[in-house]
């Protein structure tokens, strides 16, 4: 008899977590290279009811996955902004190991290394940081990732792809981590575009409608729980009356 309450609760918890995921997407609407997250729900069946085969279904949020659609390119004219056209990723070195990112807002640090906005070195073909000589003035990045300073070839940006990019995990700072055993492969079909940044792929309208949708769902589930409680209350009142 308490089932409606618990079924409702399972849905309410899932909806609340979905709203948190939507909130994170909207908060990162202007974060270059950000990838939106989506939630997956599934029913957990449990025996219940009068007949042996009757089942009741609870909602569980089984997973979040990453929406890997590319974001829009914006021209900035800054030679240190590099966007990726294709399904590739830049490889960067962090103290916790190598990470992958689509965020190509690079700069030079005090040692002349090419680093990301978070200050992590961007790696070249040989998985080494790229150092740009201090006396060079013009930086060019070719469509094949070739970095040149004053027409002198420096290095080639390491651009990799994954057979299953869903195996990547968001780790903050617009970086993605690969679990052990998930090996990156070269991505020759991905081109680098200098002077552009890839915006976040969050679509505002989609997120806002999703949000309205789930806040209505929340109300409906709450109503359902209330009605279940009313039913219970009236049952107690009627059946509990002394004859």
């Amino acid at each position: 008899m308490e089932s409606p309450l618990y079924i409702g609760l399972s849905r309410q918890m899932a909806l609340r977590r979905q709203l948190e995921v939507v909130a994170n997407n909207v908060a990162n609407m202007n974060t270059a290279g950000f990838r939106a997250e989506r939630t997956l729900f599934e029913a957990a069946m449990q025996p219940g009811g009068k007949r042996p085969n009757d089942q009741i279904a609870f909602t569980i949020d089984r997973a979040t996955y990453t929406d890997l659609r590319p974001g829009a390119f914006t021209a900035t004219g800054n030679p240190f902004d590099v966007a990726l056209d294709g399904d590739g990723w830049f490889q960067v070195r962090t103290p916790d190991g190598d990470r992958y990112t689509r965020d190509g807002r690079m700069r030079r640090d005090a040692e002349g290394q090419l680093v990301t906005a978070g200050g992590f070195p961007v790696l070249d073909d040989n998985r080494q940081p790229i150092v740009i000589a201090s006396d060079s003035s013009v930086l060019t990045v070719g469509t094949d990732g070739l970095v040149s300073a004053d027409d002198q070839m420096v290095a080639r940006l390491r651009v990799v792809r994954f057979d299953d990019p869903q195996a990547l995990r968001q780790s903050g700072d617009v970086l993605f981590a690969a679990d052990v055993g998930v090996e990156p492969m070269p991505a020759p079909d991905t081109h680098t575009v200098q002077g552009k940044i890839e915006q976040s792929n969050v679509q505002g309208i989609g997120e806002v409608t999703r949000m309205m949708d789930l806040s209505r769902d929340y109300q409906a589930v709450t109503r359902m729980v209330e009605e279940g409680q009313d039913l219970l209350r009236s049952a107690i009142n009627r059946l509990g009356k002394s004859a």
Partner: protein, 261 residues
């Protein structure tokens, strides 16, 4: 309610974005101003169910887990160091740098500051000073009776003095470059100061490898592009509104719950 705090990080980020854009627009006519760009990064993720963990005794694993991000944070306000347009002014003490490099200016306290704003003037003693009266380094003094000052592409300053056919060389404008220009600290008044992040200042002359060249009678305008700033302003404003909408939705859900009988 995590929703409210996540959405509030988004609102705060967009507020910073609008502040940076408004400073860019305010400095649209500031000599050699470099536009700032607020850069954002996502905050850490809370893992509710980790991918790769075992889902059954048979050894199957969870292919994708549940991760809830905690919002956004500003990572940097990056100065975009592209050269602004050079505008002809006809004034012989206006100099622009075409390419990389900064002029050296001595602050009243004796420290050195760096600037690209080459709208120089003369002090009562004849030394070349910037718009605030700080002398450029090394000091260059223009003698009395000078008809014309010529500043060459590599920065040598010459004066044509009355009664002399040949120009007299007064000195050389020193230029400084930094490995990481975005790491310079902005002091206001078009001045910058070296920091550990910018790297050691490297002095040289204009026209050397890695240094820009000097253009006399030109000024570098700001590199702010109005169209770009306005479109970014619109996008920041919309993002702010949507974050506010998320706060509203979170609030609505909480109130639905508290009104539950």
């Amino acid at each position: 309610m995590r929703v409210l705090s996540i959405a509030s990080t988004g609102m705060m980020a967009q507020q910073l974005n609008v502040e940076v854009i408004s400073n860019n627009i305010a400095n649209i006519n500031t000599t050699s101003y470099k536009r700032g760009r607020a850069e954002f990064q996502d905050l850490m993720y809370q893992s509710e169910r980790r991918q790769g963990s075992q889902s059954t005794d048979a050894g199957t694993i969870v292919p994708t887990g549940i991760e809830v991000g905690l919002g956004v944070r500003p990572a940097a306000v990056n100065r975009i160091n592209t050269t602004g347009n050079l505008t002809s002014t006809g004034n012989e003490l206006d100099v622009a740098i075409e390419g990389r490099g900064y002029f050296n200016v001595r602050l009243p306290g004796g420290d050195t500051a760096y600037t690209r704003a080459g709208s120089f003037k003369l002090s009562p003693e004849g030394t070349i000073v910037n718009a605030d009266g700080y002398p450029i380094m090394p000091e260059v003094t223009v003698p009395q009776g000078t008809r014309e000052i010529a500043i060459g592409k590599s920065g040598e300053v010459q004066a044509y003095v009355d009664g002399q056919a040949k120009p007299r060389t007064l000195g050389q404008l020193v230029m400084t470059v930094f490995v990481n220009e975005s790491g310079l600290e902005a002091l206001g008044d078009n001045l910058y100061r070296a920091t550990p992040a910018s790297g050691e200042p490297q002095d040289g002359a204009a026209g050397q490898a890695g240094f820009g060249t000097i253009r006399q009678k030109y000024l570098e305008s700001s590199n702010v592009n109005v169209v770009q700033e306005i479109t970014e302003l619109i996008s920041a404003q919309r993002a702010y509104e949507m974050n506010a909408k998320v706060v509203e939705a979170g609030d609505q859900m909480a109130s639905t719950l508290s009104n539950m009988r």
